[in-house]
Symmetry: C2
């Protein structure tokens, strides 16, 4: 560190964790480089609403360099990280560039994972990026389009069967939204099929949906999903996904649309550092969120794991990623002031939220539990509050209000895919 | 035509022309099938704003079957037309389905064309679909991203050089919007490049831009574009497009982004019918818009040509397509009432509009000509007025107002493309 050159913090990943580091370092005597493989920050908690044609892509994503445009000490780079040279203190990018660092923050997130069955991905796409969401939307809407033209009753039913694998918050939210789409929004639009006969099947290997919630809220969500017409299958893991359907336990279910919400795998941060990872490929970091043996490297968010929630692992949710980012920023600032001792991170859990369609939700803040429409409004306000841009808060609020009042979903666009043939 | 089965009108294409036929037939004793290769109607006049990151895709497109949901006699099909059997009165689709008709309306539009140089398309994409627009947006934004990292000054300048081929309304609107993006919206976002040095070059083979307008309005638009920093090159046709740039006349211009707005080619309607076409592949229809020798087949909009504007060809613009659609609907209704004589179509021209950036426009309604900011507001109100959904009018108005007041463009998202690599 030269007097002429300020301390260089390199942040890999501009999700909730990475952006929070940058925000927490505002005013500190550092220069910052933030690198992401995409040009936009994504509000992942609402991604399922893009996938189910409620919100438009631009309502939940913002260009990273635009978010940081007033921070003249921050340089934003579009690039794919593919390695770390810890002895040279250099990050390498897939295009051959290298970026030197004084402090490195790895916040490169996770992708959905198939427990060793990557061959299922083409048949059961997951939901982590804007492209995932538009691909899932295309798959859902095209299945209705094909059913409208299909004359074979068995095939038509398979086209109208939607399977969601995984009963966590994402799976529950997808199932509720698809049920409403099929049973409430689309019936008027079709002539040859009745979209109300569509089957939405939520498969969870464990004994109940929403395992992170208390059993009574799980039971409430279970009943609320059933009222929306969702069929819930518990206790039997999926054994096979194919173009024709899904096998769970010993049952075969013909289905043309299968969505994957059952597990994630962290980015390759552990590989880059040559460090041990847990079964989900997460770096096991020290209590102060540094990589073992590398006090100048932090790994936070979905790419790492730490038992900092009263001895339990920190959950993979946005508030946890933000807290970690702010903690890292505070540690860096303290070090620059000459205080070198490790600062352990302690996670403070504010609660769990999940929505079931557009009329119900479950919230569990510990000191308060709620369910039903009051919980839905709390959920909605909390999400609008955390959206980044003023315009987007307004746009999302407008979209939701519009859908509430009219039942219309104007985001039902099929784009970029099988229907791209040029000649009409 | 059986007494038990109402007259079946099949409309191929749900653009302005095709949708107008459906609207004009409201209440008529017919059943209607409308077929399009996409599930959405697109408001093409604003497509350049999606391409230049001002509007989101869902603000200018609407699901066709949703637009027609209240019309119970209308069936919407997603499908690619690939032929007409005029003796059987059947339309064939690319997936092997056939659809019988009593009256057929071909309104299958046009694509951009390269005057026999289809090999230029990968280097100089055109703008006709939502995917075209997001691809162009991605190309423009990625070029700035690459320039930010590029150290070779010549290559960096090529990355910051944007060429638009074709000086009609689309070319002028693209050039103005890119100039504003580079010179006004983006400078704050980048650290290593000054986006204000970006060159925007509009190449027109003819003697002036906006040839459809009066010479004084062309001259005004020319000067207004130059004030925005656009370089205009007249009188030299493009002779070569490649990954490295463009050759026009005997000049080579290194440029990494080339956009094509120079010409269109009609869909294959003439082939399907085995009828002669003009140089742009348009069916030459009868004065009543029927295909020669086939009074039960109409061809309208960009896929046909007719000298119905005081002896001149009808221009390829949205109001002309709408007028043709309504004329065809009126003809069909009259025939059903037993009046069989041909009804010649007469085009009524209300005017030309083109916008130059977000502060100026030129309008020529014949009885009134205007330019500058007043024209811009007329242009904006006219376009908002013609947008289909109430929510979209509001959303577009909000987007524009927001951009006007703040200069922000939150739709600067790079999606679906080269940056899709999974691992960070």
């Amino acid at each position: 560190m030269h007097a002429s050159q300020p301390h260089h913090v390199v942040i890999a990943g501009a999700g909730f964790a990475g952006l929070s580091v940058a925000h927490g370092l505002a005013g500190a005597p550092v220069r910052i480089t933030i690198i992401d493989q995409r040009n936009h920050h994504l509000f992942q908690p609402l991604l399922y609403q893009v996938g189910t044609a409620t919100l438009a892509t631009s309502e939940i994503a913002w260009p990273i360099r635009h978010l940081l445009r007033r921070r003249k000490e921050v340089t934003t780079l579009l690039g794919v990280v593919d390695g770390v040279d810890t002895s040279k203190r250099e990050l390498s990018l897939a295009d051959g560039h290298t970026v030197g660092y004084d402090t490195l923050v790895l916040a490169t997130g996770a992708r959905h994972a198939y427990f060793g069955h990557d061959e299922w991905e083409p048949f059961a796409p997951g939901l982590k990026t804007l492209e995932d969401a538009t691909a899932i939307r295309r798959r859902i809407l095209l299945s209705f389009e094909r059913a409208e033209r299909e004359t074979d009753p068995a095939l038509r039913m398979a086209l109208l069967t939607f399977v969601i694998v995984g009963g966590g918050a994402t799976g529950v939210e997808l199932a509720g939204a698809i049920a409403e789409l099929a049973h409430e929004n689309l019936p008027e639009d079709f002539r040859n099929i009745d979209t109300r006969v569509a089957r939405i099947v939520l498969i969870e290997a464990g004994p109940r949906i929403l395992p992170g919630f208390t059993p009574d809220l799980s039971a409430y969500a279970h009943a609320a999903l059933q009222r929306l017409g969702v069929q819930i299958e518990l206790g039997r893991p999926v054994r096979e996904c194919s173009a024709d359907g899904v096998q769970f336990g010993d049952q075969n279910l013909p289905a043309k649309v299968i969505l994957w919400a059952a597990g994630v795998r962290a980015s390759s941060a552990a590989d880059w550092l040559g460090l041990p990872a847990d079964t989900a490929n997460r770096v096991k970091v020290e209590p102060d969120l540094t990589a073992p043996g590398h006090p100048e490297i932090f790994a936070i968010g979905d790419t790492s794991t730490v038992n900092a929630w009263h001895g339990k692992p920190v959950p993979g949710i946005a508030p946890a990623a933000k807290q970690q980012g702010l903690h890292v920023a505070a540690t860096i600032k303290q070090r620059l002031r000459g205080h070198g001792q490790p600062r352990p991170f302690h996670y403070s859990h504010s609660g769990n939220l999940a929505t079931i369609g557009k009329r119900s939700a479950v919230i569990d803040f510990g000191w308060i539990k709620a369910r039903g429409w009051i919980a839905w409004w709390v959920w909605g306000l909390a999400h609008i509050y955390f959206l980044i841009g003023v315009r987007n808060r307004l746009a999302v609020a407008l979209s939701w209000l519009w859908i509430y009042v009219t039942g219309n979903r104007s985001a039902c666009l099929i784009t970029q895919g099988e229907q791209r043939a040029r000649a009409r």
